[in-house]
Symmetry: C2
DNA sequence: CCATCTTTGTGCACGCGTTCACAAAGACAT
DNA sequence: ATGTCTTTGTGAACGCGTGCACAAAGATGG
């Protein structure tokens, strides 16, 4: 999961838990696939399998939306697609601006999953004058000088930041000032925004680091202790680990019991 | 946060909670920035602000790693960078293959955040013969026929899937069969993998949908009830919502009290 | 050496999310 | 109509994560 939720104090919006909201798109995708195969109804068990979740969780999730199932039969696929779409606000059109048309921005501009879900790329914006006017994914890039004008004219409330980290906060501020109230941030920075503005972030490198953690753990478990420690010492010297400041050598203790943490000399 | 965690039964790996692991990269980034500015020590309060989290949470997170702070002073930046890096497994080199070199794959190949964290792009793989040999971000694309060979020769254990959804499971199966045990999935599909293989997914469209939900809620709160319902009816007819199968018209009830859900005729 | 002040590390309580397990509801056959 | 069988919807228990608040630890100054 590449999603870093930004500290919402677990505000349950209209009684629907945040965790449930995060799963609704998952259900919607599975249901859309069923709909395309003209499947009329689906049980919670089947749908849960398709979405990769527990069936009890799915039923509880749907129960927050209302009673949309029929006992003994299951859920009507078309009806559920509609209800979830409505709940997520996908029955209306959402104009979106993408700021920062580098590799990633271009990839996002051409991403098919947006248009099919009610999201319309209203504008691509980049600070590089050389990019201005150049079509990317069929849409001409506009210069960032016009950012405020574009947002106000199109009534854009969702912005995507795909700029370098250095200018992300600055771009964010301009977006917010111009009226954007939801931001999807791909830049590796913590954005600070006023209350009332939602920020979600996607960080590619964080996801890999989490995988690396588990990968290391797996490797450490099969070849136990010795091999692990050996690797540790080796890379440790390679990286030239710093000693803690006031390390008088005595009281540093590891997390598990009294086993000292690997402390390279 | 664009991250969809794949059902790990909350297995606390070596005593470090999953939620903490997910935050470690965040701390690491903030610490790296401090390190580059040659800041020697940092308090939990300062670091927490930089990482966008609560200071108590940060201290508790670090306490899982061991006692690495000095009371009255704070944390030694360099030492903490090293400890977190080690814990995440970033002191070793992780070769990574990226499969599917479309717009997104190319963006990932050129993403700077990988190399700087110990991840090395070992190979770019695409099924299109026209792509074979073409350099992307300085690395020549290889054909997918050679996938197994590449993985085995380089000892790759982490794979990134950036293919269309239709072939993602197939690619995943081949990766796993060849020895990959961690997968970062950008394709909008639920991947099924054997036990012992970790999957994390990043779904761009899901993040936007979650934002749309909150955006809709915000819009619905300021202009109350009437306006909201009006919009609802309008879009409802536009989308031609299906009626539930056995809808005899009576017992359908909404989530909040007895207020009936908006049910277009 | 003692007092004071800063900051960590953590015990504790609370709330959200997950899961189990089952009663209620409806379909379907007889 | 009645009984059986399937599947939903949910009450309740449990566990994880979060945040408060404070005691312990160490630095610093006299």
């Amino acid at each position: 999961m590449a999603t870093g939720r930004t500290h919402r104090p677990a505000t349950r919006s209209r009684g629907i838990p945040e965790a449930t909201v995060a799963r609704l798109p998952l259900y919607l995708r599975a249901l859309t696939a069923l709909s395309e195969r003209s499947v009329p109804t689906v049980s919670s068990e089947e749908l849960a399998a398709a979405a990769g979740v527990n069936s009890a969780k799915l039923r509880k999730d749907f129960s927050y939306l209302g009673s949309y199932g029929t006992r003994g039969v299951g859920y009507d696929v078309e009806y559920l697609v509609y209800q979830i779409s409505r709940e997520l606000g996908l029955t209306q059109d959402w104009p979106v601006v993408i700021v920062g048309i580098g590799n990633l921005g271009a990839a996002l501009a051409g991403y098919g999953g947006f248009a099919s879900r009610g999201f319309r790329v209203a504008a691509l914006i980049d600070a590089d004058p050389a990019m201005t006017g150049k079509p990317v994914a069929g849409i001409p890039v506009q210069h960032s000088d016009d950012l405020e004008k574009i947002i106000e004219e199109d009534g854009v409330s969702i912005g995507v930041i795909a700029t370098p980290a250095g200018v992300a906060q600055q771009v964010c501020d301009r977006l917010v000032a111009a009226g954007v109230t939801s931001i999807l941030n791909f830049a590796p920075t913590v954005l600070s925004v006023p209350d009332g503005v939602d920020v979600r972030k996607v960080d590619l490198s964080i996801e890999l680091q989490i995988l690396a953690f588990h990968e290391q753990r797996k490797a450490g478990e099969e070849s136990n202790a010795e091999a692990d420690a050996a690797v540790d010492e080796e890379t440790a010297t390679a990286v030239a680990p710093p000693a803690p400041r006031g390390a008088t050598g005595g009281s540093r203790k590891g997390p598990d019991g009294d086993v000292p943490a690997v402390m390279p000399a």
